[in-house]
Amino acid sequence: MSFQPVKFYQTGTFTVGNRLLPPEERSVQSDSKRFNSINSGHRACQGCGEALGARYAIDAAMEAADGRIIAANATGCLEVFSTPYPETSWQIPWIHSLFGNTAAVATGIAAALKVKGKTGTRVVAQGGDGGTTDIGFGCLSGMFERNDDVLYICYDNGGYMNTGVQRSSATPAAARTSTTPAVGAEPGNVFGQGKFLPAIAMAHDIPYVATATVADLRDLEAKVTRAMEIRGARYIHILVPCPLGWGTASHDTIRMARLAKETGIFPVFEAEHGEIKSVLAIRRPLPVEDYLRPQKRYAHLFGKQPRIDVIAHLQAQADRNIRKYGLQARKGGH
């Protein structure tokens, strides 16, 4: 288990910083001289989970690699809001090529570094769920299969938010998007479709696969740090709520991620060579309704005639996650 939360010290390791912790146990994000790999002035929406997740992850990778990171970035929100000519928010060497080829571009960078003997410089590829689970899946699977020395980070906000909130294969069931409107007998995205990429990544037997959310910074940082200790293909899937696409208040971004984890909707775990090594247990269990209700993309479930059946179905999905990954809250929390 890579992340051993500090049990107490007022806020333990739940908050970003903690003056009571020894310096070596403090988070990368709490450092007043942190990298800010993605700088201020980017054009992400107010309360953007992806902007936050990207800084969390890349800063942690930078810390682990002594500031020697090269990133390849898929087309998508992150790319568009961070690098509109003539300004870029990135403070690291960064390249955007296409929507579907990020893993392969990263492979190329890694190959170049290897052949030049620059093994101290590490490669991170990043993209949204569309660029990862859909259009970029072929290249990603190829990168996994070859075990190229790349850390791929997927920022999952459950849809094509950049183009106006269309459905991706990571869009959850029942969620409303522009292409799965909340009309008809089965409003929103259908059940039984979509794919959970971390499990597919694990099926490649790559050295490291993990999930994380922007609500558990220390867990996220520990996973990136762990991933950076390993050579070969690594995959981290980070849930990053999207106020626009989810229809949530801009200030609720982290809260939504927390609810996703605490309800069991989004399992947080890590795996090595295809085997689960640890899970982040639920701390304060909640029904999925608490997670669904604040989101306008599920508003159709809570209309005049609430779709109790659909909510129950989603609860069953969460319960299944809890059983499957062993997410049950443990005594004493964490």
Partner: protein, 540 residues
């Protein structure tokens, strides 16, 4: 490098894009009033001193504490800690044991002989403090710190007032009082014992005092009319407790009936129990209606004190009393039932409240006395200019904590009065209610229970019943503080900002917003554990 036009860009150049223009609401840091501070009668900045204790800097914590209260070792034992009743942590698990940490700090200060800092300059003014009880000691301390020459004139042979004469030593060991009084004396306060002030005007003139603070305790036990035979032994509770301080212990016999339901009744009952007697408390109402703190009733019951609830004494004779059973009416008042019972009783101790001896005020023009108390203005000054009063003398709850609060408050007004100005307390912040907090961030941490003396020793000795916390326990308990409403530098705002628009100013300096980039999303407000940020509309 000679970069290709437009395709390749310089790092971090988006700083040119000031996204602050997107904002319609802006976050603002603020300090809210934590409920503990809001309820502390002594006006302690509890959260403030807990902050230092959390990092293990106990001296800093003690110094912070004693900014408001010079008697933490005493208060850590006898304060009924309304702060803990208000503590927001009770909504998470259980309240922070503030009182136990205060005692730890007080004891630590005695152990390590920490002393108060003397004022840099002297004002040249003289202030007379009448009474060396908590209120007088507190006032003397604060006035001395403000640079005034203070003399306490105490009627009794010891300092401490009602703390010494009204509180048993198993709750408040006398060496604790001695230590904290001595520290105030060391600050430069003159303490005159056995110096009863019989006329305040005379005493002030004699000593050329510029002002006076009257802080005489309620030493006179209230009497009630109970038909009694001549041989019946009846004494008042406060006399019993006072006599415990001298050589001649009271002779009350084996079966002692204590009449009353307040803390003094409990104290007397527990005291006589320790003297080998069998105390029975007789109280006209029920346990939950009793003014005594429940934990003290519980401790008394544990120690073998008997209680007759819903009972009044109708008659006292030698060796026995008659009591009438009562019943509560619809409004919760006890009404006689006509049912009687006799109890064996070698003596009856009346614990029905106390009065203050106001004899020293006779003839002072402008003073107003009502219901046995001196009327004071909001600045604690009596109707006579320059004469202030506090503690048991003024209309208020009579607790050590309230008394200490009066002393501090009066000192500030006296200081202002001496300078010819008025003291205006700073405006209070809005309350940091639980709804302002994001408690998800606080670690699970159950309350530490203070160790208790074993029951046999409690029944037979005057050793202190409730023990202190050890260092690790105190630290743990201090860290349970949620820091409601005040930034404790957890870095959450700094970390969770998607726009890196929070600037970390360094330890103790908190944070500030970089409004060039803050888009006003409000994530910092939502994720601030302690509710120290709020959103305000830009147009305001």
């Amino acid at each position: 490098m000679d970069k290709p036009f437009a395709i390749t860009l310089d790092p971090g150049s988006s700083l040119a894009n000031h996204t602050g223009s997107w904002r319609t609401f802006r976050p603002e840091y603020l300090d809210r009033l934590p409920p503990c501070n809001a309820t502390c009668p002594a006006g302690e900045n509890i959260q403030g001193w807990l902050f230092h204790a959390e990092s293990g800097d106990y001296e800093a914590a003690w110094r912070s504490l004693t900014e408001n209260n010079p008697l933490p070792a005493i208060m850590g034992r006898v304060c009924y800690h309304p702060c803990e009743g208000a503590c927001n942590r009770q909504h998470v698990d259980s309240s922070v044991g503030i009182n136990s940490i205060e005692r730890f700090l007080g004891d630590e200060a005695i152990k390590r002989n920490w002393q108060f800092m003397k004022p840099a300059t002297q004002s040249g003014k003289k202030v007379l403090v009448v009474g060396a009880g908590p209120s007088g000691l507190a006032a003397a301390y604060h006035l001395a710190r403000l640079g005034h020459a203070v003399e306490i004139q105490e009627a009794g042979p010891y300092a401490g007032g009602m703390m010494r004469f009204g509180i048993p030593k198993y709750r408040l060991p006398r060496e604790v009082i001695e230590a904290e009084v001595q520290r105030i004396v060391n600050l430069g306060v003159t303490l005159k014992l056995d110096a009863k002030v019989s006329s305040i005007e005379e005493s002030m003139q004699a000593g050329k005092f510029d002002a006076a603070f009257l802080a005489v305790g309620a030493h006179i036990g209230k009497r009630a009319y109970i038909p009694a035979g001549t041989a019946a032994k009846m004494v008042d509770a406060i006399s019993v407790l006072r006599s415990m301080e001298g050589e001649d212990k009271p002779m009350l016999g084996r079966r002692v009936v204590v009449y009353g339901g307040g803390n003094t009744a409990i104290d007397v009952a527990r005291t006589v129990k320790r003297m080998g007697a069998e105390p029975i408390i007789v109280y006209r109402r029920t346990r939950d209606k009793a003014p005594a703190h429940d934990f003290e009733i519980e401790e008394a019951l544990q120690e073998g004190v008997m209680v007759k609830w819903l009972s009044t004494i109708k008659q006292a004779e030698e060796g026995e009393i008659t009591i009438e059973k009562m019943a509560l009416d619809d409004k919760g008042f006890p009404q006689p039932t006509g049912e009687f019972e006799t109890l064996a009783a070698d003596s009856v101790v009346l614990a029905l409240g106390q009065d203050v001896d106001l004899g020293l005020l006779e003839g002072v023009p402008g003073l107003e006395v009502k219901n046995g108390t001196v009327q004071v203005g909001p600045n604690m000054m009596t109707g006579h200019p320059g004469i202030f009063a506090g503690g048991d003398m003024v209309p208020s709850e009579r607790t050590v904590t309230v008394a200490v609060g009066h002393g501090k408050k009066a000192a500030r007004h006296i200081d202002a009065w001496l300078k010819g100005t008025t003291y205006a307390p700073p405006p209070k912040h809005e309350l940091a209610g639980i709804e302002k907090l994001n408690t998800w961030y606080y670690s699970e941490a159950p309350h530490v229970v203070r160790p208790m003396l074993d029951i046999l020793r409690r029944q037979s000795s005057f050793d202190e019943v409730v023990q202190g916390l050890d260092e690790s326990n105190a630290l743990f308990e201090a860290r349970r503080c949620l820091s409601c409403g005040n930034c404790f530098e957890c870095d959450n705002c700094y970390g969770v900002c998607p726009d890196n628009a929070v600037i970390k100013l360094g330890p103790g300096k908190r944070f500030k917003f970089n409004f060039d980039y803050c888009k006003g999303c409000g994530v910092c407000v939502a994720e601030c554990p302690c509710g120290a940020i709020k959103m305000v509309a830009e147009e305001n």
